[in-house]
């Protein structure tokens, strides 16, 4: 089920790209896709009934879910944050240069 949710989220992200004309919405769609993929990765490592992979007083025996996807997702999230920050700052400049974030208007102004 979680797989389907993440696939649908990817679909939503793609749909956002395909239908929206505002660049900021594109960035949001990108984030949605990233998140969907992260959810997908995490759920790939989930084993029902087992614990978070941390040794503690309460979980002395190693009945853990797969920790590797979680570690990978941690990395992927941070990378996503970095790209998002970069994208936002680019959009600030795009807005400054063209006065709009609408794709069609930008293309029209580029043509001039």
């Amino acid at each position: 089920m979680v797989y389907y949710i993440s696939f649908i989220l990817i679909g939503i992200g793609i749909y956002g790209f395909l239908t929206q004309k505002n660049l900021f919405k594109h960035l949001i769609s990108l984030t949605i896709i990233d998140t969907a993929i992260n959810i997908f990765i995490i759920s790939l490592g989930y084993i029902s009934g087992e614990e978070a992979p941390i040794y503690s007083k309460y979980t002395p025996i190693a009945n853990f879910v797969d920790p590797l996807p979680q570690a990978l997702v941690l990395t992927a999230i941070v990378i996503g944050v970095g790209i998002l920050a970069l994208g936002v700052s680019l959009l600030i400049k795009v807005y400054e240069k063209y006065g709009t974030l609408d794709v069609e208007e930008i293309v029209a102004k580029e043509g001039k």
Binding site: D34, I79, G82, L90, V94
Partner: protein, 456 residues
Amino acid sequence: MSALLIAVPLLIAFLFVPLKNKIKYILPFVALFSLILILKLPIEQVNFLGGWKAPFGITLVLDNSSYYSLIVVNIIFFLLSLIPQIIEKDLSLIFLILMASINGLILTGDLFNSFVFLEITSVAAYILSSSKRNYYGAFKYLILGSIAGAFYLLGTLYSYIGTGSLNLADISKNINSEFLAVVPILIFIGLAVETKIFPLAGWVPDVYASGSALTPAILATGVTFSMMYLFGRIFITVFHGEFLNVVYIFGLITVVVAELSALKQDNLLRALSFSSIAQAGLFLSVISMNSYESLTAGYFHLLNDITAKFVLFIIAASIGKSFIKNKTTGIAFSIASFSLIGFPLFAGFRSKLLILKTAFLNQNYILPIILLFATIIEIAYVLRWNIKLWYPDNILPQEKEKTQKLSWNVNLILLIVALVIIVIGFYPDIYLKIAQNIASGLTNYRAYVTNVLGGM
């Protein structure tokens, strides 16, 4: 030891954050250090980072192919670092990070690690491409690159599920045909953006033609080369040449489409970036024949292409409307463009012959036809630009006054590279040796697996 290639540029970059303005003068030393270090490194060495053996930890694999790729890439960085004029003030740090990440991209023996380095490279490339106020182009590149990165990540995860490992050698050993039907698609999408495959190369003209000299000079040479290396590593060593028939078709379409688009460009940089796309497509379709010979031919051609593009892009971005005041620069430009279109005596001719020979050897008659057709179109626009710059129409005197002479170090380096092109035209052995080593390292996946995972 090979970790130093990544650690040292990073360390310098981190250390010099507060002193951004001084860093320009350190770049040549860092690049030179890397270069010397590589030459001192022994080949066939696997570096288990953190002491964790493969497939558990991350490995840096220094075999024939990565060794020679590193040499190529670092020479490019060294040459670029000697031209501080084109490195805009703040971009020196990016330059260092790009150096580290590309070294990492070539060295790494881990799929997820390659994703990380891919992302570092991409982020650095986005920043580079935003120079000269090219924000919209950079944003488009960012979107495209990030989506591709997402697919690359998905591909990584699928191969993790399929093989239980992220190590390239381990994946190569264990991946089964079911996963080979899915993973290559995802990885292909992930790499298609950086390797400029049609129709995902839309960012290239905007980014290369922003007017900055550094952006295309790095992206079309060093970054392209490392991406092509990674492509070969993943698709040939890891996937054993699976999926390459699709790459072949995409490569051929890329060639034709890009050359046709280049024909009408009225901006030299844009025309060159289309040529860059076309050559990348040609390279991919050549290596798709997946034999030692075809890989040799492909990488040899790639080397020639990046050598020529190095000269062409720097000159195209920094020269005005003519070569009137920069004759030496003009000569370097012409030599590079003759090599690009494969006139005899120049390096490009040798690789063209090699590609033709390989293609015919594989009973492949479509590739030569496409190659020759593409070259005819390329001749048309490359030479048109040569003529336009050498014999400019009615240049006003005040414009003539305004055109600046390029400084001596730029000219010197460009001339040296142009000289290399001519020398390669006569004695291709240097490039050929590099290409052969890369090809042998990539095709011999058994040796790669044994090398990384130990004798099994």
